[in-house]
């Protein structure tokens, strides 16, 4: 156990009330951040990407699956990973499936991307028991164009 202090119910309530002020400030700042995030400009995607999916090649527009918003989680699973995806990313992947039905009913399609080839993604998805659409960016410029993977040249220039 870490260091902790024992107090009375009254002491707890006073400290809780004090913390509530900070939590309220935090929530207010969070709201401002959300508003500013929504004001970011939308940048047209000019390039036509063709991704390997479990259902064959698809364009970025097709990944929306008929909805108007696409949210994608990019899992660290590069073509050089001989064992499987990053364990921490896999934890998050585990937790995404339960949210999909609720997002889908709110006009949002949720998918995952990784850069390993599609057959490796499919095998790993089966091992993890995942249901979300898993899309490979392998062989596309997409992850480099959007800065979600580094080219070998960029990696060499990155801080070590």
């Amino acid at each position: 156990m870490p260091d902790f202090k024992i107090g009375t119910r009254e002491e707890w309530q006073a400290a809780r009330d004090e913390l509530a002020k900070l939590e309220a400030e935090h929530a207010e700042l969070g709201q401002k951040v959300t508003e500013q995030r929504r004001q970011l400009p939308w940048v047209p995607v000019e390039k036509e990407y063709r991704f390997d999916t479990e259902d064959g090649k698809k364009t970025l527009a097709e990944l929306f699956d008929g909805r108007s918003q696409l949210l994608a989680y990019n899992i660290m699973f590069g073509p050089d990973y001989e064992v499987g995806a990053c364990p921490g990313c896999s934890n998050l992947g585990d937790e995404l499936d339960a949210t999909r039905v609720h997002l889908n009913h709110r006009d949002v399609t949720l998918i995952c991307f990784s850069r390993a080839p599609i057959d490796r993604l499919v095998a790993y998805k089966e091992r993890m028991g995942w249901q979300f659409p898993y899309v490979s960016t392998y062989g596309t410029e997409f992850p480099f164009d959007f800065g979600i993977a580094l080219t070998p040249e960029q990696a060499r220039g990155s801080p070590r």
């Binding site: 940048v43 590069g78 091992r127």
Partner: protein, 82 residues
Amino acid sequence: MIDNPPEWLEDWGRQVGAKLEDGLREGPSFIAFARDNGTVYHTYTVMAPDPFVAPYHSLLLERTPTAQSEEPRAWRKDEYPD
């Protein structure tokens, strides 16, 4: 970081089966797009270590009495050592 990795990062490299110089080229991130009138727009990207790109159980763990280890170690759900 790659030339002199901490032990947890070396372990991570073994967990994924890649050299760190290759493994760390991938950016754990969320990326959002909108579709309107036949045009696709990029709207948002956020990359780890932003706390948004963390497993959701870490959100629940923030409200438990004991802080977790500072080391970002993780295990796949079928590989927990205990």
